[in-house]
């Protein structure tokens, strides 16, 4: 599904990613763990195509396509979803309108028929119910006045609606209480299956108790220094990054 080879990237002339090799096969959930400043967020932004990150080497293929040559919206249409660490507020933009516009943009790019307001509402209600979220969620403006937990839940709702092939969760657990964490984890787990992969970027083991990964990779100093099964996360929690990576 996702294949990263020798990826190097800079921000404002400063090398951040120093040669990432990583492969996430279809249907697998991989976790990336690492201390602050190791390049976790940079990796998620490089993969989703944010401006300001200069790719200096390497390649990324997504579903057989050259990901780095695509515009951010093309990546989204191809099935890449980024759950933001800090979801952005859009004042005056209704969440339902935003979600429908996004869904229809992606459906259009895929050659599928667009949904009208009623069809969308029906779909959205079903997803809200499955995620145990209130319908208020789609009546409010996008992330405006949302608590930290509500913002993250909104990300999960968007993911459920857009049905990506690969979801990157960028520290989605930060700032969440245990109930919100469970809702987020349930949302991701509900999507697991042969057509869905995820890259779960996190600082802590906590989220991985609820989303159990197939593989864990340790990112330090812009490189993946160690990979292993889910139990690697427990080792990291117990012994710290420095010791495990040494």
């Amino acid at each position: 599904m996702l294949k990263i080879e020798g990826l190097t990237a800079e921000v404002e002339g400063k090398p951040i990613l120093k040669g990432i090799d990583l492969e996430v096969p279809a249907g697998e959930v991989h976790a990336i763990m690492g201390p602050n400043g190791s390049g976790k967020s940079t990796l998620s932004y490089v993969l989703s195509g944010r401006e300001g990150y200069e790719i200096t080497g390497g390649s990324v293929t997504f579903d057989g396509r050259d990901l780095l040559a695509m515009e951010p919206e093309e990546r989204a249409a191809a099935g890449l979803f980024l759950a933001f660490q800090y979801p952005v507020e859009l004042p005056g933009v209704g969440n339902a309108n935003f979600l429908r516009t996004a869904l229809n943009a992606i459906r259009r790019a895929r050659g599928e028929a667009e949904l009208d307001a009623m069809q969308f509402l029906k779909l959205a209600r079903a997803k809200l119910k499955a995620l145990h979220m209130s319908e208020d969620m789609i009546k409010r403006n996008v992330n405006v006045g949302f608590s930290g937990g509500e913002k993250k839940r909104n990300e999960v709702l968007q993911m459920a609606l857009l049905e990506p092939k690969l979801a990157i969760l960028d520290e989605t657990d930060s700032g969440l209480d245990i109930d919100a964490l469970k809702i987020v984890a349930d949302g991701v787990n509900a999507m697991r299956g042969p057509g869905f992969s995820a890259l779960v970027i996190t600082h802590y083991q906590r989220l991985l108790d609820h989303i159990v990964p197939d593989r864990v990779h340790v990112l330090m100093g812009g490189r993946i220094v160690k990979s292993g099964p889910a139990s690697l996360a427990l080792e990291l929690e117990a012994e710290g990054y420095a010791k495990v990576a040494a």
């Binding site: 989204a76 859009l90 996004a102 403006n141």
Partner: protein
Amino acid sequence: MPAVAETIETVQSVQEGGYKWGFETDIEMEFAPKGLNEDIVRFISKKKNEPEWLLEWRLKAFALWRKMEEPRWAAVSFPPIDYQDAHYYAAPKQKAAPKSLDEVDPELLRTYEKLGIPLREQERLQGIAVDAVFDSVSVATTFKDRLEKEGIIFCSISEAVQSHPELVREYLGSVVPQADNFFAALNSAVFTDGSFVYIPKGVRCPMELSTYFRINAKSTGQFERTLIIADAGSYVSYLEGCTAPMRDENQLHAAVVELIALDDATIKYSTVQNWYPGDAEGRGGIYNFVTKRGACRGARSKISWTQVETGSAITWKYPSCILQGDDSVGEFYSVAITNNRQQADTGTKMFHIGRNTRSTIVSKGISAGRGQNTYRGLVKISPKATGARNFTQCDSLLIGDQCGAHTVPYIENRCLSAKVEHEATTSRIAEDQLFYCRQRGLSEEEAVGLIVNGFCREVLKELPMEFAVEAQKLLAISLEGSVG
């Protein structure tokens, strides 16, 4: 429309920066000779077969205008206008005034169809009566008979001068006097057509009334005059739309709109102004120098202005309310966009004279490219206006780093019991907002459209439904190419 023609039009509209209304209608026209003098004023008056009093009224305005100077206090800049280098009357040639649509030149009907304003009976817009003004004359007014049954008069002002001279004489210039300002004086001297509306006592107008203004001819100005009178206890919602062909020259549009609301009457006046804005380098475009003012003469009367200003090279416009009646209400909701090299200096004036008068001002300015956008507003509260209240909110949105937004509020409060509130914000479309939308699959332009529409939501929701949809699309088109 055949597919090929549509494709060609689409491609052209993309090349020309998205202005889709820039075509020219090839039709035989009759012009007044270029220039402006008493003879031209007489020529126009004669063409319109006007009574003596109106000619005198025009001549007085012309004499006043000659002594006045172009106002230069607005935050806009333009080279001196040669008022002698334009035609002050331009009308499609036709033998006599058309009695029905069958007598209207088909080319004109096609023009309005192309603009999305079908005038023929079977294709008319549902629930909207339209007066179509082409350069200096009104070419057609739809649904007149239906409205007459309710006692509503909706016709061109030229026609009203003939058929209802007493109403025109009583109210013309009663809100915007001839000497009000330079452009109002000019308009009073040479106005050619516009709409006239009278809603009788206690009547709620059953449909939206609308005037569609089209400038077509070269080297002309459009000087329309609109007069709306809502008698006691009546209600009317009126819409105004406008477009013009793309030309290298600047054309002057100096309109005057007067509204009068008597006791318990409500007038809702909405504008979607889409005059040709000029090209990306600032060549051509309309100078939109307009005086719009409403008088809430009666107790509990209400006048509400909503405007979406996307076009024109320069906009100079302050739709205002004179709140004379006790408990009368004035509202001003505005979205003004300036892209490329457009300039807008727009806002409102709220004069609180009656007791417990209330006014609300919501202004949303959007600047992109090298556009300059100024909100200029006056809230004036007289000593007798006890209990008066005003709330003003001015928000500016900047797209890119070469545009400008300015807010110039004037508040003159002479009444201790009055309350005046003013809020203002300036923000940018942030890179993270754009990226967030694009990550969800929206193109950059869709994202800008969504964010801008969100920013303008409080104003757009004031528009009648049909117009709101149109306005949303227009906002997106006006900002095409403003990012990236």
